[in-house]
């Protein structure tokens, strides 16, 4: 009786585990099945490097959107990474443990704010500000970068804080006992020792920034073109899929799936790098 109960639970859990895995796999397979044939049919070069995205004319070049995604992501990293790492260092080295125990969960809570809220703030506050003081349409690479930069802060701070916190205190003591100031011990020893965790946090955050859709649709302006300045409106890969999928059919629909394939590849690549960086760091210790 008891045994059969155990078995039933085990079987149930296994089923759940497999079904979640299977659904992930299905999604990937589905995207690939819809997207890859299109890429082959349309031509890899034409698809990746084509300058025109005009579905009504059967033109499906996603180059402008690749570049826009890159600009927005890099911009977000330029803003989010230094702030996040500085925040993590500050929390670890210069804030008492008790205070840290309150601040860190609060920051992690920020990750739970829906992206539409960030987008809303971008539209209502940031874009008008940029339009008024820097020119351009306001909805722009810059606006998207700032909003995304803030959105990825929790990821960077949380993982970097853990990595820095895991640096043995003996390193700090050794550095200070050799006459280093607090700050010297941080940048000459602590950051180096926590390097792999910090890099991983940045790469994971990059994946988030690249994949974010809602907030970007709201603040990037969505014009399909290669940006020349950070004040230009752009459309990212994710925004393109989300905005057009509703009305698309046939080739157009497949082209959107193909865009998804490209995104999937880039994000898997980033995650792969993050995982190998972390593993490498562990092995060295």
């Amino acid at each position: 009786m008891k045994m059969s109960g155990e078995k039933a639970v085990r079987f149930g859990l296994m089923l759940l585990a497999f079904s979640s895995l299977a659904s992930l796999l299905l999604i990937a397979v589905f995207i690939l099945k819809e997207g890859v044939p299109f890429i082959i049919h349309y031509g890899v070069r034409e698809f990746l490097l084509g300058l025109n995205w005009q579905p009504h004319k059967q033109e499906y070049g996603i180059y402008p959107m690749i570049i826009s995604s890159l600009w927005v992501t890099i911009g977000a990293m330029l803003i989010g990474a230094p702030l996040g790492i500085a925040g993590a260092i500050f929390l670890n080295e210069f804030v008492p443990r008790t205070v840290m125990r309150i601040i860190k969960p609060t920051i992690e809570l920020l990750a739970g704010i829906p992206s539409v809220v960030y987008g809303f703030i971008g539209v209502m506050v940031l874009a008008p500000f940029i339009r008024a003081y820097m020119g351009g349409p306001g909805l722009s690479v810059l606006a998207a970068s700032v909003i995304l930069g803030i959105m990825i802060l929790p990821t960077i701070i949380s993982i970097s804080t853990d990595a820095i916190g895991a640096v043995p205190n003996t390193y700090r003591e050794a550095a200070l006992s050799l006459g280093a100031t607090r700050w010297q011990s941080v940048y000459m020893v602590t950051i180096k020792a926590a390097r792999s965790g910090i890099v991983a946090s940045i790469i994971l955050a990059m994946g988030r920034a690249l994949g974010e859709t809602m907030a970007v649709i709201m603040v990037a302006g969505n014009a399909v073109r290669v940006p020349h300045t950070p004040l230009d409106s752009v459309r990212t890969l994710t925004a393109n899929i989300a905005m057009e999928m509703g009305q698309a059919s046939g080739m157009h629909r497949q082209a959107l799936f193909a865009t998804g394939v490209i995104l999937l590849c880039v994000i898997m690549l980033l995650n792969g790098i993050a995982i190998s960086v972390v593993r490498g760091g562990v092995r060295r210790k």
């Binding site: 200070l176 006459g179 280093a180």
Partner: protein, 251 residues
Amino acid sequence: MDCAITVRDLDLYYGTFQALKKVPLDVMRHRITALIGPSGCGKSTLLRTLNRMNDLVPGVRIQGQILLEGRDIYAADMDVCALRKRVGMVFQRPNPFPLSIRDNVTFGLRVAGQTDRDVQDEVVEQSLKGAWLWDQLKDQLNRSALELPMDQQQRLCVARVLAVEPEVILMDEPCSALDPIATARIEELMLDLKTRYTIVIVTHNMQQAARISDYSGYMLLGDMVEFGATSGVFTSPKDKRTQDYVSGRYG
């Protein structure tokens, strides 16, 4: 007198717990001074007051006087970083940085802003020689320090301190993570270093204290029970408690 460090009436509290009680200590220049006593009696605490590493502990309170070459190290105008360059420290567990051997030794120089390669090379050589590591390691200076065996790691930590040219070297049970052969080498090294440096060592190992130290202090529950020339402390202790401890009758 030939005192490098003089401690007078030192009280130290961790919060409300008093870890040191009116402790006196005279550290003679170019001699080895050993601090012995049972676990938790305050040896490490006393050692760490000498280079103000205790400042890092939240809630620590210190009263009394510690003079380094006649100057109060807890005076308001004391530069703590400069003090720690004069009073170096070797820890219980070898703790080289996760950097190359060379970068470990040059750490103190880089902290002080000395970036000249030639100066650094010279110091690396001298320091590694001083810690008896030069012959083994001179061809692998770029190797990670963490790959070295324990006793070489500990001597690298000594070299790292020597590179800063301290006056005093504090060692907190520097051999406790090492085997007897490695321990013997560190002891010989200390006897060699004593000609140029003043050394204070904390040790659990009574034979070690008897073998290498010139002066010994026996501590118990935060008190300095007895302090004097090592031969005296070990062969004709004045205090009954010291006698019990050095004869192995303690606990």
